[in-house]
Structure formats: C-alpha cells, structure tokens
C-alpha cells in the first residue's frame, strides 16, 4: 500500500489560489483569498455559516469564475486557458455535493458509470466492473440497481463519493460531508476520506464547519470569516486551536469556550496513516 510518508512542507502544491475575489452579482462573498493546497493533504475550508465556504468550492471546481485573482491547478490557471483545457482540468477533480446530487433518473451504478462512459473507451462490461468496484469501495456492494430515492441520505453521500472517484481524480472535494448525518455515519465518512487519501494519495479538500470532523482529519486548513469577508488564517487545525493569535479562530475551534478546554480526543486517525490502515478494511461492516 502506497502510504504517504512525506512531510507536509516537502509535498508539491496541487492547487493555488491567488488574490481571489468572489461575488454573486454585486454582492461580495469573499476577497483576498490566497492559499496553497498541497498534494495528498486533507485540506479543510472552515468558517461560520454563510461565510461563503460553498462559494469557494464552486470556485475551486470551476463552476464560478472569480471576479479577480487566479486559480492554479497543477500550475495552470483555470480561467486563463482554453475552454477544452479547463474542462480537462475540471475533470481531474471529483466532487461530492452536500446532498449527493445523484442523477435521479439513473440507477446508482449508472451514476458511477456515466463519467466512465463519457471519457473512456472501455467496453460496457468493463465499465460495469469498475462501477461495481467503486460502489463496493464505499460499502455499497450490491446496491447498483437501486435508484437514488430508494436509499438513505448517508448512503447517497457515499454514492456521491463513489461517483466522484469514478475517474480516479487527483483531487476530491467534499461539500459538508457530515451535514445531516448521524455521528457514527459522519465518522465513517471521515475514515473513508482518510483511507482513500492514504491508499490512493488523492488530495482531499473538505468544506465543513463540523469541529469534530475537521480536527480529526485535517492536515491543513483555511479559516474564512463572514464579517470581514476574507480569510483570517491558514494552518493545521490543531495548532490553530491552541496557538492561533486570532481570538475568533481560537473561539471557533474551541466551540466558543475561551479556556481552550479539550472536548475532543487526541486520537487522530489522520496523523498516523499506518494506524488508520490497521483499523479493519470495511468501515461499514456493521451497517
């Protein structure tokens, strides 16, 4: 298994944002965003409700053109290149949407298979094999013939992950993976994110305000502020929680209690890939 042993500072930068300004019409959402996302990191985009986290994701995935600034993916500027090159870059991202966003007129297997049908020259049965394998990877083997409305919200999110992984992307983006899930399902999804990162080396960008989750899985993070409409800081969530010089960030990461109490265990599967791998192969076994 290809475990990641590089130190964070040695890893190459996968996505760079430079002075990004995001607006809907005349409404400013965020400005002055500059940060780097390193290869094989779990990168957290955090901040209070309504601070523009999902808008930042729309920008990273190429759905929203920033009013100013540049998004560089592997050194290529997403919006200063040709349309076909942009489409190619966008395809290197897999996205899991908040509600799953599965295509409701297709079965789960067809959902996962569609990207493969569109972008590979594989034979139909090969595509079916890959789709079945991706579904099994997220613990949903045998559910291929179900339609999205026939399964639960947590399962839909996992199919969303399987579909996002269909083309073996360089980067997987998750929009609020734990929103609307019970604590156990949310934890399993976190573990899935780490296992996929450890085994495939995929860069993970996670948009979340779930403290438990972001402290458990995050290697690096950016904090967006709704009032000043810009980023306040970047860094490892644990370090930010204890040593950030910005009171608002510390307060957010300590759930409002200024003493810096320790409501969460220090058991971080993310800090030790070896340990994460030992945890048993199927995190969904008991479902």
């Amino acid at each position: 298994m290809n475990t990641i042993t590089l130190k964070p500072q040695q890893r190459e930068v996968q996505i760079q944002l430079r002075d990004i300004e995001l607006r809907y019409g005349d409404t400013l959402v965020q400005q002055g965003l500059s940060f780097d996302i390193k290869r094989s990191d779990v990168f957290i985009v955090m901040g209070g409700s309504g601070c523009g986290k999902s808008t930042v994701m729309r920008c990273l995935t190429g759905l929203l053109e920033p009013r100013a600034g540049r998004v560089l993916i592997g050194g290529v500027s997403l919006w200063q290149t040709t349309r076909s090159e942009r489409t190619r870059l966008m395809r290197r991202n897999g996205v899991m949407y908040q509600s799953g966003a599965l295509w409701s007129s297709m079965t789960l297997e067809e959902n996962v298979a569609l990207p493969l049908e569109q972008y590979t020259t594989l034979a139909p049965e090969q595509i079916r094999d890959i789709a079945e394998y991706k579904l099994a990877l997220v613990g949903l083997a045998g559910f291929g013939d179900y339609y999205p409305f026939e399964i639960s919200g947590g399962m839909r999110k996992r199919v969303g992950v399987a579909r996002a992984m269909a083309l073996d992307p360089d980067t997987l983006l998750f929009d609020e993976p734990s929103a609307g899930l019970d604590p156990l399902s949310a934890r399993r999804l976190d573990e899935l994110i780490l296992e996929l990162r450890d085994s495939l080396g995929t860069t993970m960008v996670v948009i979340t305000h779930d403290l438990d989750s972001l402290l458990n899985i995050g290697d690096d993070a950016v904090f967006l502020d709704a009032e000043t409409k810009t980023m306040l800081t970047t860094g490892n969530p644990h370090e930010l929680r204890q040593h950030s010089g910005i009171a608002r960030v510390r307060e957010f990461l300590n759930r409002g209690s200024k003493k810096g109490s320790e409501p969460f265990s220090e058991d971080r599967p993310g800090s030790n890939p070896q340990k994460a791998n030992e945890k048993g192969s199927d995190p969904f076994l008991d479902e």
């Binding site: 759905l63 395809r91 295509w103 409701s104 569109q118």
Partner: protein, 409 residues
Amino acid sequence: MTAKMGAPPSATQGAGNTDCLLERPAERVREPALELRLAATPGPDEARLYLTGAWRVERQLPRLGSVVKLLEEQPQLRRLDFDTSALDDWDSGLVAFIARLEKLCRERNIACDSNALPDGLRALLELAQAVPERAGQGHLREHRASFFERFGSDFMDLLQSTGEIMAFFGEGVLAVRRLLLGRARFRHSELWVIIQESGADALPIVGLVSFLVGMILGYIGDQQLAQFGARIYVADLVGLATVVQMGALITAIVMAGRTGAAFAAQLGSMQANEEIDALRTLGIEPMEFLVLPRMLALILMTPLLAIYADVLGILGGAFVGTVVGGLTLTAYMIETQAAIGWNHIAQGLICAVVYGAIVAASGCLRGMQCGRSAAAVGQATTSAVVTAIVFIVIAAAVLTIIFDAIGLS
C-alpha cells in the same frame, strides 16, 4: 388623568370563555388589559403603564396603537415605567408588545424603566436584543423603489434575460453542430425514453382535443354554409384549417402544457439538487446532455403528432358533416382530398417542427435558469408554459406571413 384600554381590570370571566376555564379549572382568568396613568403633577413627565389580566396570544390582546396615540398626546413625557401587580399570566404576546413599546420609547426619547416587569420577561427581552439587527440585512421588502429606479432595474433585467436567451440559443447552435459532427455527448437510451414520454404517451390527449376541435369547426361551418346550401364545403373548411394550422397548433399547445412543463420541472429540480453542477464539474455540458435530446425528441415527435392530430381533426369534421350535415362519408372524404394540397401539408409540418423546437427550448431554458428552491421550480414550470405559448402564437403569425410571401399557401 387616566386613560383605559381593553376590558377594565375588574372585568372577570364571563360564561363565554369556558374553554380557558377548562384548561385551568382552579383559576379565574381575567382578560388582558392595560391602563396608562400619568403622574398627577401639572405638565406630567412621568407615566406608569398598568398591565393586568392574562396576556396570552390566544386572547384578544390590547393593540399598541392606542398607547402610541396617548404618548403622542403627551409630548412632554420623559419616563415610563410599569406596574404588573395585577398581571396574571403572560407569554410571547406580552414580550413582543413590550419590545415594540421600548423601541417606540427610544425613538421618542422616553426612558423605559423595565425593573417592575417579571424577571423572566426581562431576560427574554435582553435575549432578543443580544444580537443587534445587521445593517443591510433583513427588511429587504421595506425598500420601496421610485418609478425611475424600478424602470431602470426592470430594463436591466430585460437586458439580462435577453442576454440569457441569446446565450442559450448560441450554446444550442454549438450543441447542434457537435451533434452533426457526431461528437455530442448524451445517452441515447434517454433520448428514447423522452421520445416515448413526449410522443406516444401524448396520443390520447392530442387525439381527443383535435377530434373535438374538428367537430367544433364542423358545427360552426355547417351552420353558416347551410344558409347558402353549400354544406359540402364544410369538408374544405375543416380540412384546410386543420392541416394548415390547427393540427400543429393544438399539438403544440398540448405539448407546451404537458411536455414543456415537464422539461422545466425536471431540469429545474436537477438544478435545485445540484445535479447540473455535478454534470458540469465532470465536463459534461448540460446543453448537450440534457437539452439536446429533449430538443431532438420534440422536433421529431411534434410533426408526427401533428399529422395524427390532422387525421383526427378531419374525422371530427366528418362526424359532424355526416351526422348533422347529412353528407355521405365518401363525398366528405373526396371533397377533403380535393381541397388539401401538398403545399398545405408542408405548411402544417413546417409549423409543427418550429413549434416543437419552441416548446422544448422554452421548457429547457426555464429549467436551466431555475433557482435552487422548490418555489423556483414551480415558477420555472409556469414560466415555461407561458413562454412557449407566447412564442408559438408569434411564430404562427410570422410563419403565415412567410408562407404567403413565398407563395406556399
């Protein structure tokens, strides 16, 4: 100097309020009331508000307007406090009342002393004031634009929506080009499903409507032509009207209500559910993947349905012509055959193709423009049908003029 409002504090429960008595049998509940008393000195600058009874939302609460009027009559007032010794019970009704009153007092520079209010009530008031109203947020509706402002913003909206329609058609043309080059990405299985849903499944309703419209045309024609002893020409009237315009028009309007609305609802809910974003991030153009098969299906199916509508319309006319007009079926059919030329059939088919494209385009356009909520899906559906019908009627007029100009009619 006193002023009383609501029922007097002494008024007790009558027989009319038995429901409240049932809830709290041991308690005699008084009606909520208030009384504003001014200090006795001349030119009083202090007032005390006496709150009595049960201030609960299920009762008839005194209105604030009466207090406001009193405050306005006494502009010298500088201080207001409360007496709640006779207050039996309260809930949000009283809290909201006091909150609003405090705001009014602040505006009028009257100090509001809330010390006499129950502790719980004061805590709730403080909680509501803990986070100040955000400037620039909320109260969106209170902004009333002037005529020029509205005219300007409507004009900008019009420009923007025209731009969107142009962009939609531009992208549509590009998608058709890729289709002709064989590079368009869509699922052929989906095309067949749409063809079945919009074509075969529409046969009963299109058939029924065209047969009835044929009958109506036949009746009107028969009544008029019988006066001249020219009943046989009912066949010409019904046949020409149906084949040239009515068949295509009926089909198009049924399709607008049935299929166009369905397209808008499908694409709109896909938009609301981020499914279209999911396609885009995979580099799949929704224009090719979703819009193109729908356009193709309707451009193919509307002419076929129009021919079917023509046949049933003529049968409807024939039914009236034979039963009411006393013609033989053979005579009616021979007359119809003589009246209709290939040019008429061509006109009807061209119309049907154009109408089909209009219905599909407006359904898809409104669906793609849809916002991200359930209400937006409803608006998109309505707007799709309205847009389709407006453009169908405009196209019918324009096509008639064109056919006349090129000598097809």
